[in-house]
């Protein structure tokens, strides 16, 4: 099983653990991640304004790269996944955007949304299978109580992301069960961490992160996992509660359970 892999900027800098453990775990599970060449920053936010074209080009280049390899494009960072998946949907469904992007890029053949964008978690669920993952676990995280924090970008808008039930997702909980731990379900697992507003006003993410973590702790979680570097940052750096749980990327626990850490 080989995927074209798009790591994204943050995974090369602040979120190296997210990337490193994803790679070793994939290898152990028989999945090859072939990093695409010359990828550029996805832009981190999906441009909602319909007349934004230039900000969508780098995502299309990545998509076209995977198309040329004849592979699915695998993403890991929630923001990259969100942007690339939605831009791909635009290329598939919006005639105006598709025409303008292709006019601009002048590719050998027009890109019209052919590439399938897959998140690492979707790969675990649909290609590897959580049952097979469970069987591959060498070091089950027995006794660990883990709250999944989904954030916004993987789930919404559900019609485009088609990732999971946006209000009652199960994929991370199923992942937690597969690595031998106990999932703790929280109400705020799909409520925003405060996002990029952190750059301007830390008070907003602080309020959000405290609320999210307090709930996780009150429901007995010792660990909170995420797939998003910005969520991890807000929860870890911008929260001020005392009894903070461990906050880490899901790939760290995956590697730990597979005996690779």
């Amino acid at each position: 099983m080989t995927y074209s892999y798009y790591p994204g900027c943050t995974l090369k800098t602040k979120a190296k653990e997210l990337d490193r453990y994803a790679r070793v775990s994939a290898e152990a599970l028989g999945v090859t991640l072939a990093e695409i060449e010359d990828w550029q920053c996805c832009g981190a936010v999906y441009p909602l304004a319909l007349d934004e074209i230039a900000t969508k080009l780098s995502a299309v280049r990545a998509l076209d790269s995977a198309k040329k390899e004849g592979r699915e494009l695998l993403t890991l960072c929630s923001a990259c996944h969100h942007v690339i998946k939605r831009v791909n949907n635009d290329m598939l469904t919006n005639d105006d955007i598709r025409m303008k992007v292709n006019n601009y890029l002048k590719l050998d053949t027009d890109y019209v949304g052919e590439t399938n964008v897959v998140h690492y978690l979707e790969m675990l669920r649909d290609a590897v299978g959580f049952d097979n993952l469970k069987a591959a676990v060498k070091n089950p995280l027995k006794g660990r109580k883990i709250a999944a924090y989904y954030g916004c970008l993987l789930l919404r808008p559900a019609k485009v992301m088609q990732f999971d039930n946006p209000e009652n997702p199960t994929i991370l909980e199923d992942f937690i069960k597969a690595i031998g731990a106990t999932p703790v379900i929280t109400g705020y697992r799909n409520e925003c961490c405060g996002g990029y507003v952190a750059l301007e006003d830390k008070a907003i993410p602080q309020k959000r992160a405290n609320m999210i973590l307090e709930e996780a702790v009150s429901k007995g979680a010792d660990t909170v996992i995420t797939a998003c570097p910005l969520c991890l940052y807000n929860l870890e750096t911008n929260s001020t509660i005392d009894n903070k749980p461990t906050i880490c990327y899901f790939t760290e626990l995956l590697a730990e359970a597979l005996g690779l850490k």
Partner: protein
């Protein structure tokens, strides 16, 4: 509504793709918004104010900088009005003006801390500047 405001309202409608007339004024967007307290005008008010052409008030409001782009109002809107798209369009109308970048490049270094991921910086730049 001045000529200029009418043109602005049309631009907001055009680049957001929102049909404000579909709104049934249920308020679910504002009931769901995680940034409600930080906003001067709330998501449901964006819908009615854009419809009335009161774009300048919205352009001057801090609401456009405190929307978290979490898409909760988009996901939960029962009428597919999706107010966050209006907020984005108003924000874009502001930053596309000469010299109106909300976030200036030279102001960034002082805002950084050692843990802040690139994702946050790029996101904020894309949202706040042109």
């Amino acid at each position: 509504m001045t000529v200029n405001e009418k043109e602005l309202a049309e631009r907001v409608i055009r680049i957001s793709g929102v049909n404000t007339k579909k709104c049934m004024k249920c308020g679910k967007c504002s009931g769901t918004c995680p940034s409600f307290e930080e906003m001067e005008y709330h998501p449901h008010q964006f819908v009615s104010m854009v419809e009335k052409g009161q774009i300048k008030k919205l352009m001057e409001s801090k609401s456009i900088w405190t929307c978290l782009s979490c898409f909760a109002c988009i996901e939960r809107c029962p009428r597919s009005v999706e107010p966050a798209k209006l907020i984005e369009a108003v924000r874009v109308c502001v930053i596309r003006q000469q010299g109106e970048n909300h976030l200036k490049a030279n102001a960034v270094p002082e805002k950084l801390d050692e843990n802040m991921p690139q994702q946050a910086i790029v996101s904020a730049f894309r949202k706040y500047s042109k």
